[in-house]
Structures are given as C-alpha cells and as structure tokens.
C-alpha cells in the first residue's frame, strides 16, 4: 500500500541559503513518525516544504495526489494540519475564536469538532472567552493542537511541540497525541529536539543532518544506535 505522505528528493531554500538537500521520507496511514536532528538540520523546513510555506523542488505526495508546491491553504484543505513551531496560535483572539478558525474549512459546523476537542482538553470550555495570548505556554500548545484537530485532519504535522514546556506538560501532550493516533487513526509527523521522547512515542524515525537524511529506521532500533545515542540522547 502506498504511504499516506511521501517526500522524494525534496530540496528547499531560503533565498540563497539551501536548507534541504534532497530529503526523502514517508509516513504511513495511521503511523507516528519522528524527525530528529540538531539546530539547522532542516527539520522545520521539511514540515514547511510539505505545507507550501517555503520554495522547494522535488516531489510531495499525499494520499496518492501530488501536492508539490501547493499553497498552504490548499494543503490544509486536503487534510493536513500543521502546528507550527512557537505554537502558531492567534494570540490576540479568544480561545473559542482560535477553535472556530481551526474549523474554518469544515462545512459541517463547529459543534461536532468542538465536542471531540473537549474530550481531550476539557478546560477549553471554561477558558473559551480568554485571550489566547494570556494562556500559559503549555495551554497555548494544547490549544494549538486542539485547533489542528478541529479541521479533522488525516495527518498532523507537529513542529517542536515540547519547546519551552515543563516536562510534565510535554508528557501529557505526547499522551494525547498517542491517543489520537490509536483511537482515531491520526497519522503524525513530529519534529523534535527531545529525541528520547520522540523515539519512545513514534514507530519510525528519521535523523536529519545539514538538510539530508543521515539515518532512518524503526524508532526502537534508532534508540539503540550508538551515534544517535551519542549525538541526540546523550548517553
């Protein structure tokens, strides 16, 4: 069976600076895949290339369709939800408005998706009128995730979800992502600095180094790999 998402030889550049030198990766239906790597390895750029936020060449396919260089709004339309680095919520708007924007493309209304999001994030209801920018960092990340769910995506792109958050919050976040994957069959491509956690939560992983895939394989195997342990796990 063809994978849900497939990247082939993806190159990307910011002006004169080339950030990706031919990245190929796949995410299967209902699979959690992690992308590891240091600063500047091209992790975020990989997600941005999928979403159409950066100039790229190569080939991106989603559910059998070619979406290379599709505009972000089109990528969102076909079932990919991207939670960007730094949360990417609408700070000035209320919690509820953020969620309504998540359901922007859904014609079947707001309520069903909201019920679903509330099952995972029960606190949303009492905070619905609060300005999103005044939530704590962890709550903002949860809101970003909840907003992504509102579009009922098939694939979730998560960029550094643990950034700047307390370990207990990070654990909770990954637990929810795991549940979404198990119960709803949501496929996830997660980019993480926290390699230990990312490898534990995913079935397969890729290690990027200066814009190339340096290593790939089942997460359990990579966790035992010596160079991965030295460079990313620190033991």
């Amino acid at each position: 069976m063809a994978p849900l998402l497939e990247l082939q030889d993806v190159e990307a550049r910011y002006g004169p600076v080339q950030a990706l030198h031919g990245v190929s990766l796949t995410v299967g239906e209902g699979e959690i895949v992690a992308v590891l790597g240091g600063n500047g390895a091209g992790k975020t750029t990989t997600l941005r290339a999928i979403s159409g936020l950066v100039t790229m060449s190569g080939e991106v396919r989603f559910a059998g369709k070619r979406i290379t260089r599709a505009a972000p709004e089109r990528v969102a339309r076909i079932g990919i939800a991207h939670v960007p680095e730094g949360r990417g919520i609408f700070q000035e708007l209320s919690v509820r408005e953020n969620l309504r924007l998540g359901a922007y493309l859904r014609r079947d209304g707001f309520d069903e998706g909201y019920e679903r999001a509330r099952a995972y994030f029960p606190w949303l209801e009492e905070r619905r009128d609060q300005q999103a920018g005044t939530l704590s960092g962890g709550e903002q990340q949860m809101l970003a995730l909840a907003r992504a769910l509102m579009s009922r995506p098939r694939l979730l792109l998560l960029d550094e979800p643990s950034l700047g958050l307390a370990p207990i919050v990070v654990r909770e976040l990954f637990e929810i992502v795991g549940q979404l994957n198990e119960k709803d069959g949501l496929a996830v491509l997660v980019v993480e600095q926290n390699a230990k956690l990312a490898l534990r939560s995913s079935s397969r992983a890729y290690v990027l180094e200066v814009g190339r895939v340096a290593l790939e394989g089942p997460s359990a195997e990579l966790a035992e790999n010596e160079s991965v342990r030295n460079s990313y796990l620190g033991y």
């Binding site: 969102a76 960007p84 924007l101 700047g164």
Partner: protein, 299 residues
Amino acid sequence: MAEFFQQVVAGLASGSIYALLALAIVIIYRSTGVVNFAQGEMATFTTFIAWTLVDHGLGYWVAFPLTLLIAFAGGIALERTIIRPVEGKPVVTVVILTIGLFIMLGGLTNWIWKAEVRSFPPNRPFPTDAWDVGGVAISKQDVGILLVTFGLVGGLWALFQLTKLGLALRASAVNPTASRLVGIRVGWMLALGWGLAAAIGAVAGLFTAAASPPLEPNMMRPILIYAFAAAVVGGLTSPVGAVVGGLAIGVTLNLVATYDEHLHIELDRVRLPIALLLILTVLLVRPAGLFGKTVLRRV
C-alpha cells in the same frame, strides 16, 4: 450655551467624516501594517464617480450605494494589481507605493474631471432645515450624516465580530501564516480589506462634498490629516479608537473655530497645525494611542 451645543453637534457631524476616513486607514493598517496615504484621494476619485453618475441622471441615493460598490471593487482591484506585487516587501516600499498612488489618483482626478469646482450633489441629500430642541438648533443634515456613519460602523462591527468572514479577516491581520495553515486565503482577505476601506472612504468623500461644498479635486487633503490624527489618537489598530478619535477631533476643531475671537488669534487658520501637533504629541507620549492594544504575550 445653545450655541455651544449646536457647535458640538456640528462638530460630531464633521468628526464622523474624519472617523470614517480614519476607519478606512485603520482597516488597512491592521492587516498590513501600512498607512495608506492614498486613502483621501481614493475617496475624492470615487466622489467624482458619484458626480458623473448623478450627472447622467441617477438619483443621489441611487448613486450613493452604487458608488460604494464601485469603490469596493476598485479597492480590491488596486490591491490585486498594485499592492500585491510588493506583498512581503519592507513597509517603507509599500508606503512609498501608496504615496505614488496618492499622486497618481490626484492627477487622474484632475485629468478626467478637470480642476473645476462643482456643487455636489445639486440638491442637498439631507433636509436643510433644523430641529429646535429646547432652543438648540440641530441641523438635520448633521443628524443624517451621524446616523449613516453609525449605521456603517455598526454594520462593520457586525461583519468583523459576528461572521466567519470577519473572523478570517481579523485572523489574517494578526497572524497571516497561521491563517494560511488553517485554510484562509490571506491574499484575498487583504484585497477585501482594501475594498472595504475604499468603500468606507467613499462615504467620507461623499459627505465631505455634501457638508462642506464644493466638490473639488483637493477637497480630501485636509480631511486626510484630520483622519490621520484621529487614527493615531485612537491607536492606529483600533476601529473604536478611530471613531472616538474622529468625533473628538471634529468637536474640538469646531469649538476652537467658534470661540477663537475670545483667544485673539485666528485659530481657524491653525486647524491643520493643531492636528499635526496632536499626531506628534500622541506618537511621542503614548504611541499606542488611547485604544491601541498592548498585546499580552507569554512565551
């Protein structure tokens, strides 16, 4: 005392014109961070279009909404053809472009309609008499202008706060990237903002021609300065601030002009400098204006 209240109402009416143009400026500033210097000339241009429509036999209140539609479409067209190519360029680039637009539209107005002075509309759009409210004469035209302004502001508020389109417009203004990621066509939202601003500005132009005739190509230049002052006092990002600022400036300037003989200087001549001084003071003392939001962020 009666004169005082009369002048306050008259000030509110001219202030609502500043408020409308300020609102147009704020709508574009919020979504792009750019002050549109051409806003006044756009208003003049569309008012001349209204003149042409009426000149061809249309009634004023038929030409009025028609002009707003033309302005709306024109605003969208301007954004798509002239502003779009510099999207994402430094703010200075875009600002210079709007100054270019100011010069171009001004020239175009002079070229098409000549620099003739016209009375427009030929018949007053509102009744010319006044109500007597306890000895205070309240001009029906002033009340009419105020009512239309408040209706328009209320409609805009409803559009932005109560509709999905309005939410998308606000979202595009505060976080374009995140907006695109949830599927909003941000480019079109910017164009729509220009369309709305052009239409609101058109109302300001039409009312300027009606309330302080004649209709002539330079009529919006001083109004633009007052509108800037109103927008800056309101904080540039706040629609409520723009309206409050516009009304306050209208009333202040009108009172100043009325009582200037007591001050032994001809204050009517220094209205524009007063507005500029106000802009300068607000920018120096309180750049966020009265209503500008200092956004709370936690990182």
